[in-house]
Subunit: 242 residues, 2 copies
């Protein structure tokens, strides 16, 4: 049976989207069905036990626990995962300023079995924000750079709305239209979007740069409740004062 040139999306991939309800954070587990090597994206401290149990039940070996950026709204689970799962390495962007076993940059690959995530630097929400793109470009994990019909705020942690706009347009909207987009958060019960959809319907990123900058300068959001605890902790894989 012929399916043309496009590969079956996520063929041979184990994939799980997991949610932490206090900070509305999505954690993503990706594993290779054959080698059982796995990567966890944006784990949350409070749900590490749930995630470890699932990793063990699925017979996976966690190679890397990676963050899309230094989060301000929750404490990362990467440090605790390293303690619980022997051999697991923590990873974050070199530009985040945080410590981790692996400090990645634009174009770097995080491999697990025959799969890989490619790092695209997408600063603007923070300096060290990245988007992880699955090898066949069928999925991308956008962190807080692009949310479903929204985007991360740009009013703290080196935030810059102009940089965010350019990151999204140059590094995310250039992915194939069918590419599934998985954000770090959602507050309305949405789980996934696509590049095509966000290019059409994102109420902020479809605007001109000037309009976008104006929108982002006038959100008047409250300071994140956990920021003064979370950011220092996340600079050291969540282990600070935990």
């Amino acid at each position: 049976r012929h399916y043309g040139v496009r590969m079956e999306p996520g063929k041979g991939l184990i994939f799980r989207q997991l949610f932490e309800s206090i900070s509305s954070t999505y954690t993503y587990l990706l594993g290779d069905k054959e080698t059982k090597e796995a990567v966890l994206i944006d784990p949350v401290l409070e749900t590490v036990d749930r995630d470890v149990k699932l990793i063990e039940e699925l017979g996976l070996t966690l190679k890397v626990a990676a963050n899309t950026h230094c989060h301000a709204d929750h404490i990362t689970g990467t440090g605790l995962l390293k303690k619980k799962l022997y051999g697991c390495k923590s990873a974050i962007s070199r530009l985040s300023g945080a410590n981790a076993d692996i400090l990645f940059s634009e174009g770097d690959h995080i491999t697990f079995g025959k799969h890989a995530l490619t790092v695209r630097e997408t600063p603007g929400h923070t300096d060290g924000c990245v988007t992880f793109v699955l090898g066949d470009q069928s999925m991308a994990f956008t962190g807080d750079a692009l949310l479903i019909r929204g985007c991360g705020r740009t009013d703290f942690q080196q935030g810059c709305s102009k940089r965010l706009y350019e990151s999204v347009h140059q590094k995310i909207f250039t992915l194939p239209g069918h590419c599934l987009l998985y954000p770090a958060h959602d507050y309305k019960g949405q789980t996934v979007s696509t590049v095509e959809e966000e290019k059409k319907f994102n109420p902020r990123l479809t605007k001109t740069l000037d309009e976008f900058v104006h929108i982002m300068a006038n959100l008047n959001l409250p300071k994140p409740a956990q920021i003064d605890i979370a950011v220092p902790a996340n600079l050291v894989c969540g282990l600070h004062e935990v």
Copy 2:
């Protein structure tokens, strides 16, 4: 390129999992990429506007809004969806005792484009509980019959733990091991499981029938907060006293 006998799961399918956080309910949108016909499973009254917006953005025509059963923990959105989306029909099991445009029974199909959901009656949580199975058996929507590492309670609404045990073993655990299972609820941020996983790791359904009946008789759960409002409303597509 050859992929053997198994079809690409969900080929030509638009699929979205949506969450309502007050009752921890999952709503599922399934659509045909070509004809744009769609089905919505277990819509919640409070999130109808979100769901209508998404259906319209994706260019879908909602043919059927179906419930897996007469819910006790939230008011269904099927009646309101009929008002908002012309031509949409409500659907529920004949054995639920509820009113709807379509009353389905074992083996019935709900078609949308070239896709179809097949009804498997899975009573035990309520008399009218069903599981919807996608045509290629790559996905099943289990309602409250089977939850991820759990199951629906059996202490009200005609609940019967023996029937539930038989339903799960005869109608869900007989699906292919790789079949993705999507429940009506999750309370721990889990989004999906598989038949293989639940057969191995479900802490209740892996027990003997006698043990299961004993577990279910001793849960000592509080009465659902919304039951006295939700059940009468859900007998008439959620429109009662709304």
